[in-house]
């Protein structure tokens, strides 16, 4: 981890309508696409700036995504995790965002 000190603890996620979310790198990297973009060995610009722009995701959805990332991180090792509340009206956009971010 000492070598990684240069990389910040927090990274910035930017939605298509300009909202910026600063969240823990460890949480952000739960999402496969973000993880790849921030991979120290990749040499992407995202990696240098610690900033990932997500032009397909709007602010409201990205906020929920960030909430999920922290929720996932918090419950990574626990059993019988209570489901996170998702507003039905957000669901479809969130689903597409989830598909995009998972990066499988």
């Amino acid at each position: 981890m000492a070598a990684d000190r240069k990389v910040t603890d927090y990274v910035t996620l930017v939605s298509n309508d300009g909202y910026e979310f600063k969240i823990l790198r460890s949480a952000a990297c739960i999402a496969g696409t973000i993880k790849k973009a921030l991979d120290p060995t990749s040499g992407f610009r995202e990696m240098e700036q610690n900033r990932v722009e997500l032009p397909t995701i709007n602010g409201v959805t990205l906020e929920k995504v960030c909430e999920y990332l922290y929720y996932n991180q918090k419950h990574a090792e626990s059993k019988d995790v209570p489901d996170m509340e998702i507003q039905p009206e957000l669901c479809l956009e969130l689903l597409i965002a989830a598909d995009y971010l998972d990066g499988e």
């Binding site: 990297c29 739960i30 999402a31 496969g32 995504v65 999920y68 929720y71 996932n72 991180q73 918090k74 419950h75 990574a76 090792e77 626990s78 059993k79 019988d80 995790v81 209570p82 489901d83 996170m84 998702i86 039905p88 669901c91 479809l92 969130l94 689903l95 597409i96 965002a97 989830a98 598909d99 971010l101 998972d102 499988e104």
Partner: protein, 639 residues
């Protein structure tokens, strides 16, 4: 004291501050709340004095002790004294008597006093308050909303120790429940739900994927969705699956899955759909390539006609339970669309689809690569001969209801075998053949099939263990990815132990199989193979063997399987995700490593409850290398 006096003065000038109807009532009857409160205080002080026994001259020997004390206090608050009439004094004494009798009077007094606003007085009031709770049937001011209400045995206590009216009590109970819930981190789901998830291969550790959460939420609100918009096809399919599972696939929701630019429509549970709905598919999705409908009970001749007319690009058809389609219409379909068809899967047809339809199928669909005919009751031996003419077949799955002579099947495999990637033969037995075990089928597979990756050969009671050894020994086929030889054993109720010479997949066959395919095998099903010995299991899953690709094993109803074998599997299969052990009574107290699902195990339920918590030492070695945050925790269950 001065506070009291001030208030007394206030009272003389007219009531100040809030006062209740009762206060007014009492005042009208010449009963003063003030007095009652005073008398309380006085008794209190008296008690204190007595306890201290320092005779601090509260009692001046003037008149009867109680009234005296009272007078004494009154004297100190001189402005008050003048006001007091004798009548009032009498009342006061009555009140005191009441107080002595019971605590009820105290409550009233306290309530009246509660209206006052003075700080020190208020403290006194609170003291009284704490000393006595109101009895049921009496009136009380609600602690929260200050409204008056009748105390019942069910009245709730407020945050400061007071009582709450029914309405506030309900609300506080609600809040208490909510906080109670929140404080419990894990809401324990029902046992049934847990078991259900386990059977689905879902592990419990960690949060579920965001996608899964969204899909579940969508399924809950199935009727409210207006349009799905542009979804990637895998997600469409997942949504279709969950809608089907929840029986939410109705005429209205089903339209969500019809979009003009799609080329796949897969409805896994179409039982609620009407005949007109099926026409919608072909009207809305003109470039349909793949159609999959299960339980499509109302899929009729007219729909097939419309499909022939509209769906010009159709290459892949799967229909389950389409029993209202007549033989002639099946033939029409094959004549019209047959040349383009690459895949056809038909299941559970009992009213129509006979040998002639299969004949037409093989005649007009020469390019068919994938064919699945399961539980179609009308077809018999002649259809087997017809299928043997399909030269381009790569995937063949057959399960017949009628008896098929063995030599026909042998002939079929000899013809189409060389190109096959998948071969699934369920229950091909020939009860008319009386000359004991016969390995012709295995022989012909051994000789002609050289490209198989998936082989299912189940419910067969004719082939011997030697036949399986022969199949897997020196087989020019590359290692299999998927093998299912379940229920290959002799079934005879009058001879439950089976014949002397083992019939079915046994120890030697198992050994030969693992030698041949072990390096690439991902799925292994040997359930109900009763002739595999414990030694063989222990040997195959011993520490010196590693089966690098094995992900799923079904050992159900292999009575010899015990805890040692299961532990051996966990150890020698690094990729293992799911182990099925129904009816394995020797499996007890097994420690299941994390991210592995053990199903069945009738005597190990308590042990499995803790599953997911244990990290085995051998897991640690390579577990750390893998992404511990893997978002995709769903075990893929192979078909």
């Amino acid at each position: 004291m001065s506070g009291r006096r001030g208030r007394g003065g206030g009272r003389a000038a007219g009531i100040r501050g809030p006062h209740s109807a009762l206060t007014d009532f009492l005042a009208a009857n010449n009963i003063s709340a003030q007095e009652i409160r005073d008398s309380y205080r006085q008794r209190q002080q008296q008690a204190e004095a007595e306890a201290a026994e320092n005779g601090e001259a509260e009692d001046n020997g003037e008149g009867p002790s109680i009234a005296n004390d009272e007078e004494d206090l009154q004297a100190e608050s001189s402005a008050m004294a003048a006001e007091r009439t004798r009548k009032r004094k009498r009342n006061q004494e009555e009140a005191i008597a009441k107080i002595k009798k019971g605590k009820a009077a105290k409550k009233n007094a306290k309530k009246k006093n509660k209206g006052s606003d003075d700080g020190s007085d208020y403290d006194d009031v609170m003291d009284m308050y704490k000393k006595a709770g109101p009895l049921p049937g009496q009136l009380e001011n609600c602690e929260v909303c200050d409204k008056r209400f009748t105390v019942t045995p069910y009245s709730k206590a407020g945050p400061d120790g007071g009582l709450l009216c029914t309405k506030c009590g309900k609300e506080s109970a609600k809040e208490a429940k909510a906080t109670d819930k929140a404080s419990k981190p894990a809401v324990r789901k029902g046992r049934r739900k847990i078991e259900s998830n386990r059977l689905d291969g879902l592990t419990f550790r960690g949060a579920r994927t965001l996608q899964q959460l969204c899909i579940d939420t969508l399924a809950k609100h199935a009727d409210d969705i207006e349009e799905l918009g542009e979804m990637p096809e895998p997600i469409m399919n997942k949504l279709s699956e969950i809608f089907s599972k929840k029986r939410a696939m109705k005429s209205n929701t089903f339209k969500l899955f019809l979009q003009p630019d799609l080329d796949v429509v897969a409805i896994h549970e179409a039982a609620y759909l009407e005949t007109e709905d099926y026409d919608q598919i072909f009207a809305i999705v003109p470039h349909l390539k793949k159609l999959s409908l299960r339980n499509c009970c109302q899929f009729k001749d007219s729909n097939v006609g419309y499909m022939i007319e509209k769906a010009k690009d159709l290459v892949d058809i799967q229909l389950l339970g389409a029993n209202l389609v007549s033989n002639d219409k099946w033939v029409d379909l094959f004549i019209a669309r047959g040349h383009d068809l690459r895949a056809l899967k038909l299941e559970w047809l009992d009213a129509a689809f006979d040998d002639q339809a299969v004949e037409a199928l093989t005649t007009f669909c020469p390019n068919l690569e994938r064919l699945k005919l399961e539980r179609c009751k009308q077809i018999g031996p002649d259809s087997i001969d017809a299928i043997a003419r399909l030269e381009k077949l790569q995937h063949l799955t057959l399960c017949y209801q009628k008896v098929i002579p063995r030599d026909r099947v042998v002939n079929l495999i000899a013809n189409v075998g060389p190109n096959l990637r998948t071969l699934c033969l369920e229950r091909f037995i020939d009860p008319e053949n009386e000359d004991g075990p016969n390995d012709d089928l295995l022989d012909v597979i051994h000789k002609t099939c050289t490209q198989l990756s998936k082989l299912r050969f189940s419910e067969n009671n004719e082939c011997s263990d030697a036949g399986y050894v022969n199949l897997f020994s020196d087989w020019s086929n590359p290692p299999l990815r998927y093998i299912d030889v379940n229920s290959t054993r002799d079934v005879d109720n009058s001879n439950p132990d089976g014949p002397e010479d083992a019939v079915g997949f046994g120890s030697a066959g198992f050994h030969a199989l693992m030698q041949h395919s072990g390096s690439k095998l991902e799925y292994l099903d040997v359930s109900s193979c009763r002739h595999i010995s414990h030694e063989q299991f222990a040997h195959i899953f011993s520490p010196e063997h590693t089966w690098p690709c094995l992900r799923e094993i079904n050992l159900s109803f292999c009575p010899v399987v015990d805890t040692e074998v299961i532990a051996g599997i966990f150890r020698s299969c690094p990729q293992i995700k799911k182990v099925v052990t129904f009816g394995c009574f020797e499996v007890q107290d097994v420690v299941v490593p994390r991210d592995i699902v053990l199903i069945g195990a009738p005597r190990a339920q308590n042990a499995i409850e803790q599953f997911g918590q244990v990290v085995m030492d051998f897991q640690e070695e390579f577990g750390e290398v893998q992404n511990p945050m893997g978002m995709n925790r769903i075990v893929p269950v192979m078909s």
